[in-house]
Symmetry: none
Subunit: 156 residues, 2 copies
């Protein structure tokens, strides 16, 4: 599970250290690295491990093969994504176009969101989350009522 928010340096070669606990999340041995793609929902990158990509693929496979919406999702995620391997220091080299898409300038903020994470420029993220606590408070009942509805959830 991707948790926490961390800001690391993006060096002159385009390398950035992926937070070590994120690395642990995706490290299942088959592929040591992450998958990133430009979000279609804003100026940031989205990412995860191959397991997330498999989940998305399974989800897409339940839709009609050439359904327009499906194809759009598939292109926006799979065709746009980049598979980035870790170097010995746990860094990945961000392709220039991805760094530019997210407006990254020497620093990158990793935002853990459970199954996936996001990468923002620190300043963009700062202004994006300006009101996140107020919004969260306004929507807190949605979390609670979902738990009630699935009444047998139990504690993990």
């Amino acid at each position: 599970m991707f948790l926490s928010t961390t800001t690391n340096n993006l060096d002159a070669k385009g390398r950035v250290s992926v937070p070590s606990d994120f690395r642990a999340v995706v490290g299942d041995g088959a592929f040591d690295g992450i998958v990133l793609w430009p979000s279609f929902d804003g100026d940031y990158l989205e990412g995860g491990g191959l397991a997330l990509m498999q989940e998305y693929l399974d989800s897409l496979e339940t839709m009609d093969h050439y359904d327009e919406g499906r194809m759009a999702l598939q292109r926006a995620i799979f065709a746009e994504s980049r598979k980035l391997s870790f170097d010995s220091g746990g860094r990945v080299t961000l392709p220039k176009d991805l760094a530019e898409y997210a407006g990254l300038n020497g620093r990158a903020t990793f935002v853990g969101l459970g199954r996936r994470f996001e990468i923002w420029s620190p300043e963009s993220y700062e202004s994006h989350i300006g009101d996140v606590r107020r919004l969260a408070r306004e929507n807190r009942n949605r979390l609670i009522s979902l738990r009630r509805r699935n009444g047998s959830e139990g504690a993990r």
Copy 2:
């Protein structure tokens, strides 16, 4: 899993370098190469490894033997497909008719879409995906809601 979008040169002999990570996807030892066919959904080629062809075959086998639609799919994919081996540099030689079908002119864009990939001319693909981000945004809830429905996902 085929991921990313890469554009490589198509040389005077019709050879094009298949992106190395695509090569890794199909490299199960039995056959070092790809299978391509002209898409019936547009001016591009579709492709994958032998494993994909087996999946399609298994899927077709669940249909009635002489079902008209089945036969059409079978002909459009299997009868039209070409099995292309990699040379020592990981290239395949595109048959002229396939290159012409996709309007390829010196360059070919490989589009990874998970289980299969597509090959487009760069200009065609560029104009085709003009609105893909908007369409993906409009359809994003389809991806999310499917995950909710499969409620046993569990955290790592």
